[in-house]
């Protein structure tokens, strides 16, 4: 992946993630009162298709955004770059996607 593509993808996924983070933060501070239970969480997330849809979008965007960010950090702070770094970050992206979508499946 060339740096220009990585730059644009990072920004585009950030714009997708920003409102989702606000929703997630709002939900966290709303739900935390009185403690959390699995039943409470699942009742909420299974009450509407909107929650799995939002969180699926969240997971997909983060699976791209986080590895790209780490790619920049590794290049800037260790000087490493190139094929192995791109492959590692792709593997990380696929790993996050797999376990993230599994979590979305769990709550839907």
């Amino acid at each position: 992946m060339n740096d220009a593509t990585a730059y644009m993808l990072q920004r585009i996924t950030a714009m997708i993630i920003a409102p989702l983070v606000l929703i997630h933060l709002g939900l966290i501070v709303y739900a935390i009162e009185g403690g959390l239970t699995g039943a409470e969480i699942l009742t909420r997330t299974r009450s509407s298709l909107l929650w799995p849809a939002l969180y699926a979008m969240f997971v997909i965007a983060i699976s791209i955004h986080a590895p790209l960010g780490l790619r920049n950090i590794i290049t800037e702070w260790t000087g490493h770059y190139g094929r192995w770094l791109d492959l590692s970050m792709t593997a990380l992206a696929l790993f996050l996607l797999a376990i993230g979508l599994r979590a979305v499946w769990t709550i839907s």
Binding site: A18, L25, I41
Partner: protein
């Protein structure tokens, strides 16, 4: 160039980067814990019971603050990069700090 590292915006850059690393490290654990709900023996509830301790709630507060910081400073970057240049926008840094502080306070008030 050394003086640049004493600038407020350098700390904003560091805070954004370090919060990003912390969140990236936390994320796999978060996804795997949620996946515990798939287990028939109530793995998720057992974990949620464990997480109902003051130290764990403090760690959760830290995560909420990190998320708010990363969001705020990320939005600052998007503003700087997509709008007409009007300086480093120190006000956006302080706005982020206020937002993260508020999010953390509200979380603490409701968690304890």
């Amino acid at each position: 160039m050394r003086n640049a590292q004493k600038h407020t915006s350098y700390f904003a850059f560091l805070a954004h980067r370090i919060s990003g690393i912390a969140l990236a490290l936390f994320l796999p654990a978060h996804f795997l814990v949620l996946g515990l709900a798939l287990e028939p023996d109530g793995g998720l509830d057992a974990f949620l019971k464990f997480s109902d301790q003051p130290l764990v709630k403090l760690a959760e507060w830290g995560l909420v603050a990190l998320l708010a910081i990363h969001l705020g400073l990320g939005l600052r970057l998007l503003i700087i990069e997509t709008t007409i240049w009007r300086g480093i926008r120190k006000n956006l840094i302080w706005l982020t700090a206020a937002f993260a502080g508020l999010a953390g306070l509200v979380f603490l008030a409701r968690a304890f």
